[in-house]
Symmetry: C2
Subunit: 338 residues, 2 copies
DNA sequence: TCTGGCACTCTGTGAGCGCGAGTGCCAGCG
DNA sequence: CGCTGGCACTCGCGCTCACAGAGTGCCAGA
């Protein structure tokens, strides 16, 4: 178990390193923090912290930098979440209030997060399966060709083409539309499969093929892997990453392009509360030198999706966590209003 | 006027420089190309080309590199568009054929372009105003709150909230929906304002406020600056840009985040045919060291939007142009089918 | 008009060197 | 037992210097 002072030393190291981006030495530490002890003592503490794996030296006779384990301890025990100031909160609200539709909300959220944290922002669209159905629309484009449009209470709209095995009359279409909506409107998408499974039976035999085609398209749309989408932004902030550029930035950019990877990453994060994944805690190799701070957001008590930021492990955790939490809260409000 | 051989020298310089990314000298040129003359002669030609501003030396006694003007001449006179091979064309088609909706088409197009050209891909969503109306849907969310959904023939779907000054009955709503669609379905969005301007007059006085609210939201949605959207991808390819990293890549990433800037850039490009903007020809400063190759695409003869790539001025122009053209062609086909 | 030759000018690379920051260890002190 | 000051040691960074190599411009001759 580490003594109180050693924890203070670790905290000071993290803070200084995050600030200066340079390995921090014992002398500098005592000068910038009121530890009440001499550099020699700090050196002893550092040696102990290094033995425990919380800090490391890039090379012999350079200062120390925190390891992933060090950051982990810092986040868990040594630092809280820094709340946003009142003006910041107002700015967030003003910025998000101007959105005209869901795409706009997401786009603005991404920009906002990227600006606030000066890191890469990732915002997941509200998950279909976790939202409720506002309306299902069916349009005849051709006698045997329909367009299916799903609208969620969070404002998300998805459309799909449906090719029917046989032409489908306008009255049958209206009938299907009405029956579908009366069954699923206001219900959660996750329940839709169960709610519609016996629907074909309500139709004449010649229409059942078309009804089934519509339903199977509807169900396909709800398959989890396909239905999740996200938007990223602030990639220009990656240029502040470090000096050893191409090697660091390349895999990160590649990971960010792989939305599947990011979605998985967000999915693994805890469902409630804020999650911080530091360095090698991220399963995806390309993100081994980054940290991911994410949190769920939603219109009510329940999260409909997640958002967060990706940045260097050397990041301002309290500030970043504060910004992420605040933004998630306001996005939830906006969604509830719309 | 430059002699035929000097043009050949310029072409050889561009090709070698694009291949090796290093300034090319007279000796290497004669070795790799059958110019039929000695290095000394090439040196004279190079001096002439430099006087004319087609090539430049990074420093005295280094090889030459093409200037923007040199690339311009190369693109205009010395190189054609390299057609895609049959397998490549098949691969493009296969890849795009799997798309389930417009978002998917655009996303796949971006990936494809980025992979083919190994550069940053930019794909604009089909412009609303240049598309035709497939359907306009109105849903009552609350007595005085509607959702307006626009669906284009290219599969694009836009939705907006409408707050009505007074509650709007279900029959009136159905009436408005029917009238709206009979007027605008199949027509071009650009004509919509004209087609609906007298619509409120057909309604009872108490409903006119709501009808006007719907119409004004509809018209706002069509305002050019707001309705254009795009998707980008392949930013990881920026890491292949050059050695002097952060300085080069930063402004490019920033420019790519500014969709407004990119849309303007694409908008300025010629409306038909392929446009290549080289280095300083791009009005936006951040893109002064990049070239933008863009072309319109559309389901019929007319372009509904543009797509292209952003890469270093030192790019393989014939190959890039070939890929961009081929992808645009297939995307047009896909849109026409859907 | 082209060619071979020659002197010149750069840049990039690698070795050598000194400085400074930082460490580890130790003996002494409270 | 923990803290402190002192001291020797290590090592990376930046600097200079020299050198090799590539490439040029120019000139005289074919």
């Amino acid at each position: 178990m580490l003594s109180e002072r050693r924890l203070q030393v670790l905290r000071a190291i993290v803070q200084d390193y995050v600030g200066t981006e340079e390995p921090v030495g014992s002398k500098a530490l005592t000068e910038r923090h009121n530890l009440g002890v001499s550099p020699a003592t700090v050196r002893n503490d550092m040696a102990a912290l290094e033995d425990e794996g919380y800090i490391a030296q890039p090379h012999t006779s350079a200062g120390r930098i925190p390891t992933d384990k060090g950051y982990r301890l810092f986040v868990d025990k040594l630092a809280g979440v820094k709340p946003m100031s009142a003006p910041e909160r107002r700015a967030i609200q003003n910025f998000l209030d101007g959105a005209v539709d869901l795409d706009d909300v997401v786009a603005r959220t991404v920009r906002l997060l990227a600006q606030l944290t000066r890191q890469v922002a990732v915002v997941q669209y509200p998950s279909l399966t976790r939202s409720t159905v506002r309306h299902v629309e069916l349009l005849a484009l051709a006698p045997a060709r329909l367009m299916l449009v799903l609208i969620t209470d969070t404002g998300r709209v998805e459309q799909r083409m449906v090719d029917c095995p046989a032409p489908f009359g306008e009255t049958s279409l209206a009938d299907l539309r009405a029956r579908l909506n009366s069954r699923v409107a206001g219900r959660r998408f996750a329940d839709v499969p169960r709610l519609v499974e016996d629907l074909p039976e309500a139709f004449e035999v010649e229409d059942r093929g078309a009804v089934s085609a519509v339903l199977s398209t509807l169900l396909e749309t709800l398959v989890e892997e396909n239905e999740e989408r996200l938007m990223i932004g602030g990639t220009a902030n990656l240029t502040r990453f470090g000096h050893d550029f191409p090697l660091t930035i390349r895999p990160v950019l590649e990971a960010l392009e792989e939305h599947v990877v990011l979605l998985k990453l967000l999915g693994e994060a805890g469902d409630s509360g804020m999650t911080v994944r530091i360095g090698h805690e991220n399963a995806y190799e390309g993100l081994n030198s980054t940290s991911v701070v994410s949190v769920g957001y939603g219109s009510g008590g329940e999260a409909v999706a997640k958002l967060g930021v990706v940045g260097p492990t050397r990041m301002d955790y309290p500030g970043t966590m504060g910004a992420v939490r605040a933004v998630a809260r306001y996005v939830g409000q906006i969604l509830a209003e719309s």
